[in-house]
């Protein structure tokens, strides 16, 4: 018979460690975020778990899409987990955040549950938007989506920041967009007004190197996205290292909260999937490139290696978390595939807020449908 070796107690683990992180490239800034980050064991485990949930949730969505249980647009976030989780760890829950359509990760970090996110993707009544919004239109408290029109979320985010300043609650707005959106005119209009009015806005460009099928070199005359705010100070951050993202976000948040106005962060990151589920993602980039990132820069692996090699967690412990996460995702997928679709009575609801019930014309003159607020 074998004797079970006693498992290691928590007292055996290092409670916290300091890590060197990459220096950020700076634009119109005298100094940048610190070059070291302190990570506690609790934080590490929490970040690991959240990133793993995010990863597995997106992979499950991939599966469900291929089974045609998810339809329409589905833009997956796997590879970019360190951005969403790192940003959230650098701001307060009471701060605000808005992003574009690759939004499932942020919906999670901003308080959505995996169940309601997946049920929204499958278009069920238990979805976070009751099945009315879909992949690109998920909302939560202090999270303004999920926006389908490229770049439109940037002025919106500055507007949220204006409201923060107006209401004097020392809150800020994180306003995300991609390398493709970075060429939208309305973003430059927003930079101007945000700087002019000193809005507490952190503009964040998630540069995953491709706007749909167009590489950054083919889309932008200047790929230094952190400099394109011109008069807005900027920093370029390693978006695959969660500690780098966190420290940069804290730095940026401090800048905003001190009344200095907006700041711009470019997160260099990578998406494993194509632009959306309709894009295999290999016609404009090589499989080798994708594989290289996976093996050398995967955000979850980077964190895991750091924790293991610094005795902050054990391989078994992390495996246990993986098992739990897998179960959580399975449960959510189960819910998302069995929850009923929204009732037809809901079709015309939610047109207007705070409004008495009204009639909505159906597909023909005799179809008089009911709409409730």
């Amino acid at each position: 018979t074998r004797v079970v070796v006693a498992s290691r107690t928590y007292a055996d683990f290092t409670p916290q460690a300091t890590f060197d992180i990459k220096k950020c490239d700076l634009h119109k800034l005298e100094e940048g975020p610190p070059l070291q980050a302190v990570l506690t064991r609790e934080e590490g485990l929490q970040y690991y778990r959240t990133m793993q949930v995010m990863r597995r949730m997106e992979l499950k969505a991939d599966q469900l899409y291929k089974q045609k249980i998810i339809r329409g647009f589905c833009h997956l976030y796997d590879g970019q987990e360190a951005c969403a989780v790192g940003i959230e760890s650098g701001i307060n829950r009471t701060d605000h955040l808005i992003t574009a359509y690759r939004a499932h990760g942020y919906t999670l970090t901003r308080g959505g549950t995996v169940r309601e996110i997946m049920a929204e993707l499958t278009g069920r009544r238990g979805g976070i938007a009751k099945g009315k919004g879909g992949s690109m239109h998920m909302y939560a408290k202090h999270f303004y989506g999920g926006n389908g029109i490229v770049g439109a979320q940037v002025p919106l985010g500055a507007g949220v920041a204006l409201a923060c300043k107006y209401q004097g609650k020392n809150e800020l707005c994180v306003c995300l967009y991609g390398d493709g959106a970075a060429n939208q005119g309305q973003i430059f209009e927003t930079y101007n007004m945000a700087a002019l009015w000193k809005l507490p806005c952190i503009f964040i460009c998630e540069n995953n190197k491709y706007g749909m099928g167009t590489s950054v070199e083919r889309a932008a005359a200047s790929t230094d996205y952190y400099k394109r705010g011109d008069f807005i100070p900027g920093l370029r951050v390693d978006g695959m290292d969660i500690l780098c993202v966190r420290e940069a976000t804290k730095f940026a948040a401090e800048h905003c909260r001190s009344g200095k106005g907006p700041i711009l962060m470019e997160l260099q990151t990578y998406r494993y999937h194509g632009h959306s589920m309709s894009d295999p993602g290999i016609s404009y980039r090589t499989r080798e490139e994708i594989q290289e990132v996976r093996s050398k820069s995967d955000p979850i692996s980077l964190l895991k290696d750091r924790m293991i090699s610094n005795n902050m967690a054990s391989v078994e412990e992390l495996k246990e978390i993986d098992v739990e996460v897998r179960k959580e995702i399975e449960d959510a997928a189960q819910f998302a595939t069995t929850d009923p679709e929204p009732p037809l009575e809901d079709l015309c609801n939610h047109i207007f807020s705070n409004e008495p019930p009204m009639e909505v014309r159906g597909t023909n003159p005799w179809a008089k449908l009911k709409s409730i607020s």
Partner: protein, 350 residues
């Protein structure tokens, strides 16, 4: 203030009746509406080009910046898409912005924010995210400003669910509708008219009150009549009343309906009128194709009033061309009173 004289009810003696009517221009009515709502709710603020220090491109916001300051009256750079988006974002985060477009022609630059960010969001979020915003400014033809500055956007905005679209005519309309719009928790487009800004109307005691609001979605019968229904919005309401005055001399009594709201359209009032008059003419300044009149006619076809029509319902509209500059051409590009009279007579087979 106007003081009136009248005969006493039973004695026949001369009685002095003091009627508190105030003559107020549409411009001042809009100004009063914004002033009152800014005072009433500190979440309300105004942004747009020249709204603050210039007192408004058309002086509609005169005095507001002086009274409320930089925080609540905000001059923007010339960035419609940007500042409309900022306004919508502010509405999402708890404020109640009034976003002015210097004219609605420029709103085309920002139309994505109005439709996709404002109008659709409450629905897409299944009720989680309301957008209490007002987009306002002058709409439609002006005088000599040519094609790019003269388009009417009533049809385009009214096409979209999730928006309310208002089109005031009188000072009372302007005040009551704008106040309702600001108090409404939804995106409301208020289509004003530059040529009406300087026109003065009597404002009743009731309309002078700080809580005077006009319900959205309800048309007003400006002039009752039995022979033909004229439905119009904005400046054309005045033209219809003028046409009605001329026609009255020939014994034709027009019922003039002021739509006040384009979306939602008050079909009930129009139908009830047709059931009385048996004839319908809609009058608008905008282009005919897919316009406000087209929608009215389609609804009448589909509803109970159809059986009461003694003649096809017709539309009097702007001419289907970009607006020309020369006065004689411009004058002939929009409905004139004579066009309305002509159409009434044709419809009534006179």
């Amino acid at each position: 203030r106007v003081t009136g004289l009248g005969l006493g009810p039973s004695s026949g003696n001369l009685v002095v009746v003091v009627v508190q009517l105030e003559l107020v221009t549409v411009r001042d009515a809009l100004n009063q509406a914004m002033d009152e709502e800014l005072e009433r709710d500190e979440r309300v603020f105004l942004l747009g080009e020249e709204v603050a220090q210039y007192d408004g491109a058309y002086k509609v916001s005169r005095g507001l910046w002086k009274k409320y300051g930089d925080k609540r009256i905000i001059d923007t750079p010339i960035s419609e898409m940007g500042f409309a988006g900022i306004a919508v974002g502010a509405a999402m985060a708890g404020l109640r912005p009034i976003c002015e477009f210097m004219t609605f022609n420029f709103s085309m630059q920002a139309i994505d924010q109005v439709i996709n960010s404002a109008a659709k969001t409450y629905y897409m979020s299944a009720g989680l995210q309301p957008v209490p915003i007002v987009f306002r400014g002058p709409n439609g033809a002006s005088a000599g400003v040519a094609a790019q500055h003269s388009q009417c956007f009533a049809a385009w905005y009214s096409h979209c669910p999730g928006l309310k679209v208002l089109s005031p005519w009188s000072a009372e309309d302007a005040k009551g509708l704008l106040k309702s719009a600001i108090r409404d928790d939804n995106p409301v487009v208020v289509l004003e008219n530059e040529l009406m800004y300087g026109v003065a109307f009597e404002l009743s005691d009731e309309a002078q009150s700080k809580d005077f609001v006009i319900p959205i979605g309800k048309a007003k019968i400006e002039r009752p009549g039995n022979h033909v229904t004229l439905v119009a919005h904005s400046r054309m309401v005045g033209f219809c009343l003028d046409a009605a005055a001329v026609l009255a001399k020939e014994g034709v009594e027009c019922e003039v309906i002021n739509l006040r709201t384009i979306r939602p359209l008050d079909t009930d009032t129009i139908e009830a009128s047709i059931m009385k008059t048996n004839h319908l003419i809609s009058v608008e300044g905008g282009w005919p194709q897919f316009g406000v009149g087209a929608e009215i006619c389609a609804r009448i076809m589909e509803g109970p009033a159809f059986n009461y029509l003694d003649a096809p319902a017709i539309r009097v509209t702007g001419v289907d061309i970009p607006m020309p500059y020369a006065k004689i051409l411009e004058d002939n590009s929009v409905p004139q009173i004579k066009d309305i009279i002509f159409s009434v007579k044709k419809t009534l087979n006179m």
